[in-house]
C-alpha cells in the first residue's frame, strides 16, 4: 500500500454525468489484506469509473464505533454508498469479476 492514499481521483473529469460514486473501504489495520484490497479497488475504479469515484478508507482500529453503525462484519469490506442501493463486497477484491458484479459496474460500462 502506498503511504498516501489520495482522497479523490487525480484525473477528475469535468464532463457529464457528474454522478459520483462514493465507496467506503473498511479495513482493520495495515494488513496485507487491507493493502491488497485498496490497490485492487483503485485499479478497478480507475478502469471503470475514472474521475467519477471517491474512496474513503476507514480503519476500524481507529474508529471501532463505525463498525456497528455501518454493519461491518468482515474486513476488508467495500460499501457502495452511492449510488443507491447500498451494495457490499467483502474480501481483498482479488477476483475482479466478482467485484464488478458486486458493484454493479458491468451495466455501467
Amino acid at each position: 500500500m502506498k503511504s498516501k492514499i489520495p482522497r479523490r481521483s487525480p484525473s477528475r473529469s469535468r464532463r457529464q454525468p457528474p454522478k459520483l460514486w462514493q465507496l467506503r473501504l473498511y479495513v482493520m489495520d495495515q494488513t496485507p489484506k487491507s493493502v491488497a484490497a485498496f490497490s485492487n479497488l483503485k485499479k478497478i475504479c480507475e478502469s471503470h469509473l475514472k474521475g467519477r469515484y471517491r474512496i474513503t478508507v476507514i480503519d476500524l482500529l481507529k474508529q471501532p464505533q463505525l463498525a456497528k453503525g455501518d454493519q461491518i462484519l468482515a474486513t476488508p469490506t467495500v460499501v457502495r454508498w452511492l449510488p443507491n442501493p447500498v451494495r457490499t463486497i467483502i474480501g481483498n477484491l482479488s477476483d475482479t469479476e466478482h467485484v464488478l458484479v458486486g458493484l454493479d459496474l458491468r451495466a455501467a460500462d
Partner: protein, 591 residues
C-alpha cells in the same frame, strides 16, 4: 483519503485464565444448582436447541441477572433479532432490558445479515465482528457476552473455510478477553448444532428441548457437557414464567431448609391427639391419601379453618371443585368458609388441570403464593394436577413446589386421590418420600355399609399413634372414634356398635355369673364355719369331761386319805411312834 498507519493492537488482552474452574452464576432459578454454581467463568458456553425452546431468553436472562444480581455488565450481540425486538421480547419476562441499555449496563449490537447480501471477492476475515465486540465489551466493561445465534453467519458468508477459521479465532480471543460467553445455536439433525459449533465450544454445552408428551408441551434442559465440573446429567423440566426461566431440579442439590419446632393444630382435636397431641410441624409438608369420598377435602377444609382462626392466611388450590362448591359442601358439615374468604384470610384458586401444561400451573402457583404470602397452602388434589404431565415431571413439580414452600416456612397439605384398593400406587409412594407426614384415609366395607377410617402412616419427627381411627362426618363436623379391633378384624360403623352392645351384654352376664359364684362360695364358707363351730363345741365338751374326771380323781384321793386318817384315829395305834421313828432317823443323820 485517509491513511491507516497505526499498528497498535487491540487492548485489554488479559490472559489470566485461572487454573481452577471458577463459576459464573447465571442467576437463573435452578440452573446454578444443576451446574454446581453456574457457567464456567471466562469461557464460552453453548446453548443449543430447536426453534422456540427458549435459547434467546436464557441468554438474555443470563445478561440481565448478571447486571441486577452480580453487577456484571454485558454485551448482547444479536444476529437474528433487532434491538427493539429483543427489548420487547424480554419485557414479557419482566426484564427491563431497555432500561439497562440506557443505564449503560448492557450493550445490544444487532448484526444484520441477509443471506446473499455480501458479494465475496478474495480473502477476508471477521475483524469487523471482532472490532464491534471488542468495542461493545470495552464501552461498558462487560463481563458477560451473549452471541445469539452465531450460526446466522453461515447463512451470510459463503466461504466456510474462512468462517470456521475465524470462529475458532473468535472463541480463542473471547477466552483471552476473559468474558463469560453464551452462544446460542440451532439444534442440528445429526449433531448438537446445525453447523457443528460444538466443535469450537468445548467447555460447557447445554441442550434445550421443547417437546410434546400426550398433548402437553414441556420444556427440558440438559447439561450435555461441562468440562472439569460435576453437573446434573438428567433432563430437567424448565419453564418460562413472568419472572424468567425456572429450571426444576428433580433432585434438588441443596437440602437446607430452615425448620420450625412450632406445631400447628389440624382443626380436629382427636387428630392432633394422634400426632403427639399437638398437630403438625409448621412448614412441613403433609400428604393426605384416600380413595374417592373418604373426606380428604373435609380434613383439608378443617385444617384451613383452624389456620384462619389463628389469624394465618391460607391459599387453597382446588383442581376439581369451584370455590363456591367447596364452600357449600363444607357448610353442610358445619364448616363455614365464606366468612373466612370475606375476611381475606382464605383465598381459593381453582383451575382445571387440563387448562394448561404443568409448567404453566407451577408458574401460576408460584405467582399466587408470592402475591398472597400464605402460611398454609392446600392442594386439592395434587394427583389431578400431576396428571397434567408425566409421572417424573409431576414428581419434579411437587419437589420444586415443596422446596419452594419449605424455604418460605409455608405448611403445605396435599390431598391425593387413589384408585381404591389397599395397594398404594407407585407414584404415590414416590411422592410420599417428599412428605413429612402422611395420613391415609380408607373405606371399610362390611355389613352392607362403608365406613371411613384414618391412619397416620408417617409423621416425621413426632410421636404419633399407630392406631386406626374411625372417621365420622356429621352435620356438626368431623370426629375420630377408636375403631374396634378384635379377633374378627377391624370393626367400624354399625358393626362396631353391635360389637360394643355385645360386649356390654357379655359384661353384664359375666357380672351376674360372678355374683352367683360369690354367693355359692359364701354359702360353702358358712357351712364350713358351722362345721367348725360344731367341732369346737364337741372339743369343748371333751375338755369338760376331762376336767370332771380329774376332779373325780382328786376327790377320791382326798377321801381315801381322810378315810385312812380316820381309820388310824379310830385304831389309836402307834401313830406317834411311827411318826417319831421317822423323825429320829432324819435327826440322826443330822448329827
Amino acid at each position: 483519503m485517509e491513511e491507516s498507519s497505526g499498528m497498535k493492537k487491540r487492548g485489554n488482552r488479559s490472559a489470566s485464565i485461572s487454573s481452577l474452574l471458577p463459576k459464573c452464576p447465571t442467576g437463573i432459578q435452578g440452573l446454578d444448582e444443576i451446574t454446581g454454581g453456574g457457567l464456567p467463568r471466562g469461557r464460552p458456553t453453548l446453548v443449543c436447541g430447536g426453534a422456540g425452546c427458549g435459547k434467546t431468553l436464557l441468554a438474555a436472562e443470563f445478561l440481565v441477572r448478571g447486571v441486577t444480581l452480580f453487577d456484571e455488565p454485558g454485551v448482547l450481540m444479536a444476529f437474528e433479532e433487532t434491538e427493539a425486538e429483543l427489548k420487547a421480547n424480554v419485557t414479557s419476562l419482566g426484564f427491563d432490558l431497555a432500561g439497562l441499555v440506557r443505564r449503560k449496563k448492557i450493550v445490544i449490537d444487532h448484526v444484520h445479515i441477509e443471506p446473499g447480501e455480501f458479494h465475496e471477492s478474495g480473502e477476508y476475515d471477521l475483524e469487523g465482528l471482532f472490532v464491534r465486540l471488542n468495542h461493545a465489551i470495552d464501552s461498558v466493561g462487560a463481563k458477560r457476552v451473549v452471541l445469539d445465534t452465531l450460526e446466522a453467519l453461515f447463512a451470510g458468508l459463503r466461504n466456510e473455510a474462512i468462517l470456521r477459521a475465524e470462529l475458532r479465532r473468535l472463541f480463542r480471543w473471547l477466552k483471552v478477553k476473559g468474558v463469560t460467553v453464551v452462544i446460542t445455536a440451532e439444534r442440528g439433525r445429526e449433531q448438537l448444532t446445525r453447523n457443528g459449533l460444538e466443535e469450537y465450544v468445548s467447555d460447557c454445552v447445554i441442550l434445550l428441548d421443547h417437546r410434546v408428551n400426550e398433548q402437553i408441551a414441556t420444556r427440558h434442559l440438559r447439561v450435555v457437557k461441562y468440562r472439569g465440573a460435576l453437573h446434573g446429567t438428567n433432563e430437567f423440566p424448565f419453564l418460562i414464567g413472568a419472572e424468567g426461566l425456572s429450571v426444576l431440579p428433580i433432585t434438588s442439590l441443596a437440602l437446607n431448609h430452615q425448620v420450625s419446632n412450632e406445631r400447628i393444630a389440624t382443626g380436629i382435636p382427636k387428630l392432633d391427639a394422634m400426632l403427639g397431641g399437638q398437630g403438625f410441624f409448621r412448614g412441613s409438608s403433609i400428604l393426605l391419601t384416600g380413595t374417592p369420598g373418604t373426606g380428604k377435602t373435609i380434613i383439608a377444609a378443617n385444617f384451613a379453618q383452624a389456620a384462619c382462626r389463628r389469624g394465618e392466611r391460607v391459599l387453597f388450590f382446588s383442581f376439581e371443585e369451584s370455590p363456591n362448591q367447596i364452600m357449600r359442601n363444607m357448610h353442610s358439615i358445619g364448616l363455614r368458609l365464606g366468612p373466612l374468604v370475606n375476611s381475606g384470610l382464605l383465598r381459593f384458586h381453582s383451575a382445571r388441570p387440563s387448562l394448561y401444561g404443568l409448567e404453566m400451573h407451577l408458574t401460576t402457583i408460584f405467582k399466587e403464593i408470592t402475591e398472597f404470602q400464605p402460611a398454609v397452602v392446600i392442594m386439592d388434589p395434587i394427583t389431578s394436577l400431576m396428571d397434567a404431565g408425566t409421572a417424573s415431571e409431576g414428581k419434579g413439580m411437587v419437589t420444586r413446589l415443596i422446596d419452594y414452600l419449605k424455604a418460605g416456612q409455608v405448611t403445605s397439605l396435599f390431598t391425593s386421590l387413589t384408585q381404591g384398593g389397599h395397594a398404594l400406587q407407585q407414584s404415590e409412594a414416590a411422592m410420599s418420600s417428599l412428605m413429612d407426614s402422611w395420613l391415609l384415609l380408607q373405606d371399610f366395607e362390611g355389613n352392607g355399609e362403608r365406613n371411613r377410617v384414618l391412619y397416620v402412616l408417617k409423621a416425621r419427627g413426632m410421636a404419633h399413634s399407630n392406631q386406626i381411627r374411625e372417621f365420622l362426618i356429621s352435620d356438626r363436623g368431623v370426629d375420630l372414634v377408636d375403631a374396634y379391633i378384635g379377633l374378627s378384624g377391624v370393626l367400624t360403623g354399625s358393626a362396631r356398635a353391635a360389637q360394643t352392645a355385645r360386649e356390654k351384654a357379655e359384661a353384664l352376664a359375666g357380672q351376674q355369673e360372678a355374683a352367683r359364684r360369690k354367693r355359692e362360695l359364701e354359702r360353702t364358707r358358712m357351712a364350713l364355719e358351722r362345721q367348725i363351730s360344731g367341732l369346737r363345741s364337741e372339743h369343748e365338751a371333751g375338755a369338760e369331761e376331762l376336767r370332771q374326771i380329774d376332779e373325780q380323781v382328786g376327790t377320791q384321793t382326798r377321801l381315801l386319805t381322810t378315810e385312812r386318817t380316820e381309820l388310824g384315829r379310830l385304831r389309836q395305834a402307834d401313830v406317834s411312834v411311827a411318826a417319831g421313828k421317822r423323825n429320829g432317823f432324819r435327826n440322826g443323820r443330822g448329827h
